[in-house]
């Protein structure tokens, strides 16, 4: 029985990797416009993956936009006042935001569910308000320009930069999936008391996951600042950076790397194409699509595919066992 279920699993990653590589390199030959779209898709994809990595522990964050915006500001401030070179601002922002998240997480990770969610949302607002009011450092409501952007804005080079960053994020997410972290986070999500009784240090794992995912969000925010060369409180902390990755993850499917990936590609590309056909009112159709997918694919697209696989597997095993249960 176990050989039946093992075989497709072995083959799938190869097919997937080949397809992913194909898709990833397609924009390189397709020209600047697809590259722009792909950069935007990768941006949301990384945010979606990082959000998913934390929800694997059961902790619902509404603070993506906060760490994203903070990362953008860290990059801009680092580049302006400390002379951090463009590409290194990504690392700089990841570290700064990761440390901020570590300090905040140490206090707020005792919260659960709705309360944790609302505190992350409130924190995102507080980051925005501080950046907004701290005019001497951040340029206040007007925001600030970056002194120099990565690769001078070269379309291919910046796309490759985003691709590398996305590969790193996917790598970290897969590491989460295939290491002891996976067992720790899943156990915490399913039942904290059981997890603790199995020796899982809940606080340490939550703190690690929170700091790493926030750091990723910070790096993505920095990459965004590099792509467009500026940060402002209103655009950098836009609540869409929280809501859209969330929607993408749920559409693609939670608790894995590939759900967010599929969701981001689908919503990103669909959103861009829709507006070419329906210039006035495409967002209405976008909303309708979200509603319909949630209604008819409650476990997301990857979940739907998995469900099919599992059902077919179950029917095979059931016929083999001859209804032993």
């Amino acid at each position: 029985m176990s050989s039946i279920e093992q075989r497709p699993r072995r083959r799938a990653p190869w097919v997937f990797a080949a397809l992913a590589a194909l898709l990833a390199f397609l924009p390189l030959v397709a020209g600047p416009y697809p590259q722009t779209i792909a950069r935007s898709v990768l941006t949301y994809m990384m945010l979606a993956i990082s959000w998913d990595m934390l929800i694997r522990s059961g902790q619902l964050s509404f603070g993506i936009a906060g760490f994203f915006g903070l990362g953008g500001y860290a990059a801009a401030i680092g580049a302006t006042y400390l002379g951090v070179p463009p590409v290194l601002t990504l690392v700089f922002a990841a570290v700064v935001v990761g440390v901020v998240a570590l300090l905040i997480g140490a206090v707020v990770l005792r919260l659960r569910g709705m309360y944790f969610a609302i505190v992350t949302l409130a924190l995102a607002e507080i980051f925005r308000i501080v950046m907004h009011n701290w005019s001497s450092l951040t340029g206040g409501p007007n925001g600030m320009l970056l002194p120099r952007s990565a690769f001078d804005g070269n379309s291919v080079a910046t796309y490759l930069m985003m691709l590398v960053l996305a590969a790193v994020v996917i790598g970290v997410s897969e590491w989460f999936r295939h290491s002891r972290i996976h067992f720790a986070l899943t156990a915490i999500r399913d039942n904290e008391t059981v997890a603790a009784s199995a020796g899982v240090n809940i606080y340490a794992y939550l703190l690690t996951a929170f700091a790493i995912t926030s750091g990723i969000q910070g790096a993505v925010g920095a990459s965004y600042a590099q792509l467009f060369g500026f940060v402002t409180p209103e655009s950098s902390f836009n609540v869409n950076y929280t809501l859209i990755p969330l929607a993408m993850t749920l559409l693609g499917g939670m608790y894995g790397t590939w759900g967010p990936v599929v969701g981001a590609v689908l919503l990103g590309v669909v959103g861009e194409y829709l507006k070419l056909f329906i210039p006035y009112g495409h967002l209405l159709v976008y909303g309708v699509i979200i509603v319909l997918v949630i209604l008819f694919m409650p476990r997301g697209i990857v979940g739907l595919v998995r469900g099919h696989l599992e059902r077919s597997r179950r029917t095979t095993t059931a016929s083999e066992k001859g209804g032993a249960a």
Binding site: L111, M114, I118, I129, L246, L250, G287, V291
Partner: protein, 308 residues
Amino acid sequence: MTGFKRLQVALSVAAGIAVVALFLWRPTAVVYGLQRAGLYASIALPMALVLGIVHIVNLAHGEMMMVAAYLSYAAARALGIDPLLALVPTTIVMFIVGIVLYRLTISRTVDGPELNQLILTFGIAMVLGQAVNMIATSQPRKISLDYVSASATVGDVSFGVYDFVFVALAAASLAGLYLFLKKTRLGQAATAVGQNPRGARIVGIDVQRTYTIVFAISAALLGIVGTFFMTKFSIFPTVGGSYTMRSFSLVAMAGIGNLPMIVVSSVILGVSEAAIQAVPHGGGWSPLVFFGLIILAIMIRSFRGGRA
């Protein structure tokens, strides 16, 4: 549990003292703070009801209020009547909208992962906002009404009194919901469902029907709030969004399922905001006070009450 009660009492007393102190320093700040608290509470109460009983974070909450506001606006415009006369038809229409929305969409997500309801209501919010945008454009609308500028003068200080309708509305909503939940069979059933849906099902309560009605009541309340809202504020397709977040924050601050605490939290936030705005150049920091207080309240509760 008692720690939590004590905290509630302490918070209420602290709020009271702060209000008195502020009144002595700047009386109008208290007036405006209370008025603002009334607005916050009257919008947050329907969300608290849905969150406490149906256990849904309705991200379309503000958009539903926005739709209600546009309904009343359209009625007032088309019929040339005072928008407040549209209160009853709007409320009825919103009740029906609530039933339809619940039956058609939310009820179908009950079996899926919990977060799906969140994204579903996010999608609904988007659809409502965009639909109104297409029909009415993004241009703000506001009917000029004389009574909105009604003012009172005490000594040499003039201040607006119309906003006390929100205080009255919040009080009426709270009282109405309290009576509904404690004194009516349906309300008691709803409370039971809210505390333990499985248990309620076992004792023969139609859970889906209860959810539908609770959601519809919340929508109807938003019909009332939306109508009053549009008399005072400009309306535009995105006007509701910030009130969704604000209501959600208030509900979390009050503790899920705790309706009276919503009012206390609203007073704390409303008066604090008015207080900081009364300080010259304090306005820019007033959202910081709002979110800071919410985090503070949630953290204090978590340390006092432990994890729920």
